[in-house]
């Protein structure tokens, strides 16, 4: 067992010191019947938009507005994201996947420290479940339908599983009717689910 806090190995999972202490508390309190993990998850899920800086929405809004930035983002997302002043941890590479009418991207892994929450916000609770992971690989269209997303039959769906070194950011399609919008207004359309590919960006009608 590794006791060195600076030990870093990409073969196995890692939890920070605070994460270890939080998990310790949660398992003890659950075993003693003081907390119900499902109820905790349900509450935490309501803070989807209240955790972390959620820089991803601004990155997507910039890519929608600025063709030069979009090209840089698709070429090297780590650099393009850093350009906006958002720095990931060292050695973390982010790859941007752009959704188009022909191809829809979905990201599946996100169980451990690999989930880029500073970019995306809080991971959805259901993302951690094994049934979701296996189903999204076997039947991505069905999973999307469960989320209320019906894609044209001609749209190819690609599923991406993060590796130890690569995290993905899905760039959703820009909704129609947003011509001339400021980046700030556009960013409000970019949900977490649209950046992991289990949803689409909000439409202007949805935020009106």
């Amino acid at each position: 067992m590794s006791r060195d806090p600076h030990h870093h190995d990409h073969d196995h999972s890692e939890l920070s010191e605070t994460e270890l202490r939080v998990r310790a508390l949660e398992s003890i309190l659950t075993q003693k019947g003081y907390v119900d993990p499902a109820a905790l998850d349900l509450l935490i899920e309501t803070y989807e938009t209240k955790v972390g800086p959620r820089n991803g929405a601004r990155v997507v809004a910039r890519a929608w507005s600025d063709p030069g930035y979009r090209a840089r983002l698709l070429a090297d997302a780590t650099l393009a994201i850093a350009e906006l002043g958002y720095l990931g941890r060292q050695g973390e590479h982010i790859v941007a996947l752009e959704n188009t009418p022909r191809c829809h991207h979905m990201v599946v892994c996100t169980l451990c420290s690999c989930y880029p929450w500073p970019v995306l916000g809080l991971p959805p609770v259901w993302y951690k479940s094994a049934p979701y992971r296996s189903r999204v690989v076997a039947d991505p269209r069905g999973v999307l339908r469960d989320f209320g997303v019906e894609l044209p039959t001609g749209t190819e769906i690609r599923v991406w599983d993060s590796t130890a070194e690569i995290r993905y950011l899905v760039v959703p399609m820009r909704p129609a009717g947003t011509e001339g919008w400021s980046e700030e207004r556009l960013a409000a359309l970019v949900t977490r689910d649209s950046m992991i590919g289990t949803g689409l960006a909000r439409t202007p009608a949805e935020v009106a």
Binding site: S2, S13, L29, L43, A164
Partner: protein, 127 residues
Amino acid sequence: MTLDPAAARRAADALPGLPRDAEGPVFGAPWEAQAFAMTLALHARGLFTWGEWAAMLADEIKRAQAAGDPDTGETYYRHWLAALERMVAVKGVADSGTLARYRDAWDHAADRTPHGRPIVLAPEDFD
């Protein structure tokens, strides 16, 4: 008493200094939301009042400041977590030895779990 955003908002109202916006608490990282949710659950069960909690948290912050904490607000939930650990010890739920044993077990579980798999605690993690 249920665990919901309304209860969270009442907690935020009862605890000045808690990072929040108009709707309720905001968090810098997922673990902060977890620590907050557990505290809310324990409060809902009547383990402590917000008055007791505020005193424990203030004491933790005072200790940290004495130890050189810059107190910029960035470390608020670190103090929160330390206060929660002390609270469960004071209330006889789990002493610091038990907390340390579980912390080490989770460390072991993370170590033996390949990247990308869910980290789950197993009995052998306590060996």
